[in-house]
Symmetry: C3
Subunit: 360 residues, 3 copies
């Protein structure tokens, strides 16, 4: 072309808050979604095929037959082996090839392995290790607020058209709730002046809100029927956990844990686990919370869609933060440090890095 | 990839008749389309959000919140300020930030401006200056044939899938009308030999047709009920005005002014203003001309679609012109000179650059 | 962008089995599809317009008017000339321009030619030579099993979303049939041990199967009603012919000839000619074979779609072959040699290059 310029928005700094952390565990699917058929999932941009071996244990292979590169997820499971749809080659959970139909020289079967990924199963999820053909360096972190521990839970899944960073920041951001989710949770009454303390450790950052009045609406009322001040923490834990926790006295506890899996740079799948222990009957809470939670998640997804579209159109981000963007910048630093260096120490203590006043 | 070649059409010169003139006024929308809601428009590849301030004056900002880069056009207008849908930041028409909800330290509100574009309103259109955060170097040129001056007008808008150059050449090209628009305007009768004079000035080029018989069809009959020879000019004025003018005596006058706005390199929005002062009742003319004009515009849009698709597929243009391609090459030279140098002098006199015989 | 990496599958060797052989004949359309209207077809990535001249002979031009680059296929045929829809320029079958409406100086008509491609018509197909404005170096190869030679034929056309190499390998691959087409042709009974001999010449490769039992299903029964052992050859002939031939005694003969035309690097149009001379009535064979053949072709197309998608996603192929991938590697070598060097000698004798045992 004669000119390399084109009609376009003004250039940005070209920065993108994309970090790629592969030596970590990510949720690939819910346990109940993996039965007797192969399941295609994309994690960190890698197309995977999940299946259960003869013992029922989950296995994950790269979704590409080593023979002619057809998607293995088109095939089936036979005798605990994954069978390619094209020529019927069969693979075990560790990727090794066990059968090439028609081939008389069975020695040729060996060495034609599929690429495999370590898996774990726990808390109702199947986890995969982000690096192929690599033994995992640690175990996935179990959830704390689970049915086994006396919590009722709601699990929902939604794809966010945003980076992991944008999705996690959004999940933990307080100021937008009064606007974007007006009436669902905050934003109806007069604003109140409160204080937030930000604490950080090597693998996490959290904000504690002090003096926060009970949130509005039905959810707030079920959490704190008599009103009053709640305890509230928002936290991010590497590589991709975003958690919102509310407490009112010893009896009322609500934890929303969002397990995020980067599908690609601009798509993040969120597995949201809402766990609660309240005085109200669980069935009632569930009936009230589920539709509200889904509506909130979809409003957030629409905003992230717009944000991602703008960032792509402009060739990068150009963010102006204020001091009440409490966690976003910290999440970005955690992601970037983890991308550049070794996995951070999860046992490091939290230390206060900032105190801020804000109106909620 | 092993080979960088690919199955493809034969290569072209790679030339593209794309000029990018930013220090000019362009129509962003019709006045009546901008009410109490934000309006998203793209001009010169730049996504804009238009809204009316407290005084009703149009304002144009880059359609990206400086905070988290969400489209401002998703938001609303409150007290004459544009409010972002995500966190409720509010911006004035000049782009300055006036409110960050939740932020206690109001000093931080300053300096978080959105990018803004100068605007004007006139002749039923909202104009924007093509360069961000820049005072305009001149005023938009008012139309001459308007309702205030005793003309009846029809205004229509259509997107052309072509470059500004291709769209303007098409709007002003006589030879294609007898083929592409056969029966609607020309092409039914025997051809007649006429003469065209091409005149040029620094900011414009025009062709005058001498000895041209009355055009065919209902439009021609309303222009010249007794037949005869019409006066006819086609002209292009920088940066993007294409005008066709017919006259028969002092009483009959028809001017079609196409105000073109490049949306991107290959999409041009046309605001076509058909202005007429004829002996026939305006309502009748309007009823006859509107559907014919729209059909002609859509036939032209289909051709430009094919032209653009071919040019993209071949990686550039490869045009063979003859002497009856009267204006296209001149329009391209005007655009290219204006792109390379300062804005041309609009007061320069027209001089004859060519005389050509052609059959119409 | 800050980082050039992106979330992506593990890198491959980046190899792509794409060869681009232009100095050859390819089928552009069936004879019966080219009547009195222009027909748009893409061959080797080149958009062509086909039409019949005044004598009814097929002509092929690049589908781009030299004037303003509109697709000529939008136009019509007038007096055996192709007429552009935009300005009515007319072109003869050799690409020469014969008319520019409106132009008084007819000398300017000359030299404004469209790009043309040599054509031939035979066996019910229109062939084009893959290089523009170039006299063909030889003639297209006629089919042997035709209606004139006493065969009944079925002709079907299907687009395969795969490279020419992948499409031809698939068409000639035996091992996949028992899996992908289970029940339609092979794969229902016990496997049998047979022998295959691979023979090669400069322009072709073929596999002969020795001791192969009659294929299953209705097609197999019509070929060999009493069962027994069939003669069977699979062959590829440059640039793009894939042929499967079955014989049982002197009376039963079935030949499936797939004439492949690369539309682009990853799309191959197949014209499949099923020719047979069997003891069964042709109408009955036709009624049985046609739906089975179409079902097989569509199953193959779905597999090639998956293969191509995976290859593109991973940025290249990574194939692991065994010795029963009889023809694919040879086809690739033939294509690559032909791409690099002169056209191979079609009269060279076949020589044995390998003998393999396999189960079918």
């Amino acid at each position: 072309m004669e000119s390399s310029a084109k009609l376009a928005p003004p250039p940005t700094k070209g920065h993108l808050s994309v970090a790629r952390l592969s030596a970590y565990w990510y949720v690939a699917c819910r346990s109940r979604d993996l039965a007797d058929k192969p399941l295609a999932r994309t994690v960190l941009g890698q197309p995977l095929v999940l299946f259960r071996d003869a013992a029922g244990a989950p296995a994950a292979l790269l979704d590409r037959c080593p023979h002619r590169n057809v998607e293995l997820s088109l095939g089936g499971v036979a005798d605990g082996l994954l069978e390619c749809r094209y020529h019927g080659w069969r693979f075990a959970g560790d990727g090794s090839c066990r059968l090439v139909p028609g081939l008389c020289d069975s020695a040729q079967v060996r060495g034609r392995s599929a690429t495999s990924f370590a898996t774990r199963e726990g808390d109702g999820f199947v986890w995969v290790w982000g690096e192929a053909d690599t033994p995992p360096a640690r175990e996935p972190q179990p959830l704390t607020a689970t049915e086994d521990n006396g919590y009722a839970t709601i699990v929902r899944q939604l794809d966010f058209p945003g980076t992991l960073h944008a999705t996690a920041e959004n999940a933990l951001d307080v100021p937008h709730t009064a606007f974007l989710h007006r009436g669902l949770f905050r934003g109806n009454g007069a604003r109140k002046h409160i204080r937030a303390v930000v604490r950080r450790a090597a693998d996490r950052v959290e904000a504690e809100y002090i003096g926060e009045p009970r949130p509005e609406g039905l959810v707030g009322r079920m959490l704190a029927p008599q009103g009053g001040v709640v305890e509230h923490w928002d936290r991010f834990v590497l590589p991709s956990l975003a958690q919102v926790e509310y407490r009112l006295g010893p009896d009322n506890h609500l934890v929303v844990t969002s397990l995020c899996t980067p599908i690609d740079d601009f798509t993040t799948r969120m597995y949201a686990v809402v766990a609660f222990r309240l005085r109200f009957p669980s069935a009632l809470v569930r009936a009230v919370v589920t539709p509200i939670a889904m509506r909130i998640l979809r409003q957030d997804a629409a905003i992230l869609q717009s944000q991602s579209a703008t960032i792509r159109r402009f060739g990068g981000e150009q963010f102006e933060s204020t001091e009440i963007d409490l966690l976003g910048p910290h999440i970005w630093r955690l992601l970037r440090q983890a991308e550049a260096g070794p996995a951070p120490d999860p046992s490091e203590d939290l230390t206060v890095v900032r105190e801020v006043e804000l109106d909620v």
